[in-house]
């Protein structure tokens, strides 16, 4: 099987984000990491590779420095890594991001599965997976919590999707686009993987390599506009201790308060 994992480099989840007057977002010198949701996709893909053979290719659309995220994925066990980078890509919205990823996946040739994270921890839109599936014309299996079976010869996959109402079992033909929920415990990079990643010359594909013209990418091609970006107002949290004579009384007072606040 050839599995492609599109990953995004994001600020660490503990980074303190600030927004300046012009709407620029900054996370100071907080470290950049592989989007945590993408780590689940990487882990699951590596397990599929271990079971069925084949290879896992990671791709990312981002700046030169995003090579670090790719190296992290290679250190975990991915086989190949490609950076999609071109100054013209800057300002691409989720739909254009998906178009660029789709062009790269087509260029890779025979691909059986695209495994993504359910969303990024910075952009948070969860728009790239559906947009990419649409571009490729492949079925989308979003919010996957478990892979039940894969039949590479029969070219089908059965997964459990996690929905608000419960779990949904879906069968789809391959190739397909999947997005991962927290479905495993991502492995640490191995020393062998680290050595491989450190030595790897990461391929860079630009717009021309992907057969995309400047008008098809970047801010110009993007429909989404960001007229105002601001930090959400700080939530004022008040802590109230509920006291009483007995646990039963405290519980009753607590329920009353929760009802009064319309939490229940």
């Amino acid at each position: 099987m050839h599995i492609v994992v599109p990953i995004k480099q994001t600020p660490d989840t503990t980074a303190a984000l600030t927004v300046d007057a012009s709407g620029r977002i900054s996370w100071g010198d907080a470290p950049l990491i592989v989007n945590p949701w993408d780590e689940f996709a990487i882990e699951e893909s590596l397990r599929l590779k271990e079971k069925f053979g084949g290879k896992v290719t990671v791709i990312t659309l981002g700046p030169e420095s995003a090579k670090e995220a790719l190296k992290q994925a290679v250190a975990m066990g991915c086989d190949e890594a490609i950076l999609l980078h071109d100054p013209a890509f800057e300002g691409s919205d989720a739909v254009v991001t998906a178009a660029i990823l789709a062009a790269a996946i087509r260029k890779l040739g025979a691909v059986d599965l695209v495994f993504m994270g359910k969303e990024s921890v910075d952009g948070n839109s969860a728009q790239v997976p559906p947009a990419l599936a649409r571009r490729l014309g492949w079925p989308l299996l979003a919010y996957v919590g478990k892979i039940r079976e894969v039949d590479p010869a029969g070219r089908t996959i059965v997964v459990e999707r996690i929905l608000e109402e419960g779990r949904q079992v879906v069968r789809a033909p391959l190739p397909a686009v999947l997005s991962a929920m927290q479905m495993n415990e991502p492995r640490y990079p191995s020393f062998m993987g680290i050595r491989k990643a450190a030595r790897m010359q990461i391929q860079v594909w630009n717009a021309a390599d992907l057969g995309l013209s400047p008008e098809q990418v970047g801010a110009a091609a993007s429909a989404a506009r960001w007229p105002a970006v601001f930090a959400p107002p700080r939530q004022e949290v008040q802590c109230e201790f509920i006291q009483g004579e007995s646990p039963e009384e405290i519980a009753r007072l607590l329920v009353d308060r929760l009802l009064a606040e319309k939490v229940l």
């Binding site: 670090e68 190296k71 992290q72 250190a75 640490y188 990079p189 191995s190 020393f191 062998m192 680290i194 050595r195 990643a197 450190a198």
Partner: protein
């Protein structure tokens, strides 16, 4: 000159940091309180390749360099000293001694399973009557045909109850002082080996420390490491590696103190301001920040010298001395910054102090390092080449797969 870590080193650092944060941090306090080692620790460290991090692949290791060993120690001790102690005794004091002095057969039998983490190894020099004065040990090894018969007692041995293999220093010729000492690889399963735990330690309470008694223990001649009479030099060369891991680890402990103190100083308010805005608190933070950077540079230089195959006894001793003394001070100051909360085990800083105090005692007390540094500076001490030096790091050699048997 290059002060940047390579991609490889950064990934090692990141990986070990994540392991320690994710798996050890949540459980360490409970194990420290109960004075109980984490039962699955070796298994996890082995799975990650940490127990053979800088041992060549052909001897079962991960094939990384000596700087990676240091970085791993820094990250491990940032969470708890007991983790780094495992690296010090298993990897540095024992396994690296086998790499440096061992015959091919000894490496095959002992180094390979140790590097893979299938067997755990310890280092036994100290005795009830001899610590700093290592030449005063009384354990004897008398040659009888094809075996040496070991008799004596070792104490304060890290992992005494848990290790499978011990590197034991004993006297083969008690008349000859430090030239009458030899080193032996002793298996726990050999007859007459008994071990026990030392309870009530001030620090490294999640780590095992104990005593070992040898009662007419027969050790095959082929288990002698190095030549007869070379034991003192082997023991001291081992310390060049052990001290390096302690230096790197203490650097991590300083960082832990700094991180905890910065966080607390930015949260705690007194007199209407964050305590970090009070200059006397700033002084303590500034000193921690400075000692962290100095300690880090010192151990990285020692690691670089090891990679290059340069003798580093002096530089490693300096790194160990500085980092451990600075760690004690950083931990004291971290408690001070935390006020009464730092004085309770609700926060980690009291554990940092208890752990730091051990570091100025083992692997050469601060007094011994002071004397060493003075003697080097005064020209009273010169290092003579060893018969076997620690091999310089050669990436090709370290990563070569074993030849098919």
């Amino acid at each position: 000159m290059d002060f940047q870590l390579s991609d490889e080193h950064r990934m090692v650092q990141q990986m070990v940091r994540e392991f320690a944060e994710r798996e050890i941090r949540p459980v360490i306090k409970e194990h420290d309180r109960a004075q109980k080692p984490i039962p699955w620790l070796f298994e996890r460290m082995a799975a990650l390749g940490l127990l053979g991090i800088c041992i060549p692949v052909k001897y079962g290791g991960a094939g990384m360099d000596y700087i990676s060993l240091g970085l791993a120690c820094e990250e491990l001790e940032r969470v708890d000293s007991s983790l780094r102690v495992v690296m010090s005794v298993h990897v540095a004091l024992n396994s690296l001694s086998l790499l440096q002095w061992g015959t091919e057969e000894q490496k095959r039998r002992y180094l390979v399973p140790q590097a893979k983490g299938e067997r755990i190894a310890a280092y036994a020099l100290t005795e009830p009557g001899a610590g700093s004065d290592a030449a005063a040990i009384r354990t004897t090894a008398r040659r009888q045909g094809d075996v040496y018969i070991l008799n004596g007692e070792k104490t304060w041995i890290s992992l005494a109850d848990l290790a499978d293999h011990f590197l034991v220093i004993a006297k083969t010729d008690p008349e000859k002082g430090h030239r009458g000492m030899s080193a032996f690889i002793v298996e726990r399963s050999f007859p007459g080996v008994k071990t026990g735990t030392i309870h009530g330690k001030l620090g490294v309470r999640a780590g095992n420390t104990g005593w070992i008694v040898f009662e007419n223990t027969p050790v095959p001649v082929e288990n002698r490491l190095g030549e007869e009479g070379e034991g003192f030099y082997i023991a001291m060369a081992a310390l060049d590696n052990g001290r390096y891991t302690v230096a790197a680890g203490a650097t991590g402990l300083i960082r832990a103190c700094l991180e905890a103190s910065v966080k607390y100083a930015n949260e705690r308010m007194t007199f209407g301001r964050r305590i970090g805005e009070h200059q006397l608190v700033q002084e303590m933070i500034a000193k921690m920040a400075a000692s962290y950077e100095i300690a880090r540079l010192l151990y990285l230089r020692a690691g670089w010298m090891k990679n290059m195959g340069m003798r580093n006894t002096r530089e490693t001793s300096l790194a160990k001395w500085f980092a451990t003394e600075a760690a004690v001070q950083a931990a004291l100051d971290a408690i001070q910054i935390h006020g009464a909360y730092g004085y309770s085990d609700e926060y980690d800083v009291e554990r940092y102090l208890r752990n730091a105090k051990g570091e100025v005692i083992y692997e050469g007390t601060s007094q011994i390092h002071t004397i060493l540094q003075a003697e080097y500076a005064l020209g009273y001490r010169k290092d003579r080449p060893l018969r076997c030096e620690l091999p310089a790091y050669d990436p090709e050699l370290w990563r070569a797969e074993p030849a098919m048997a």
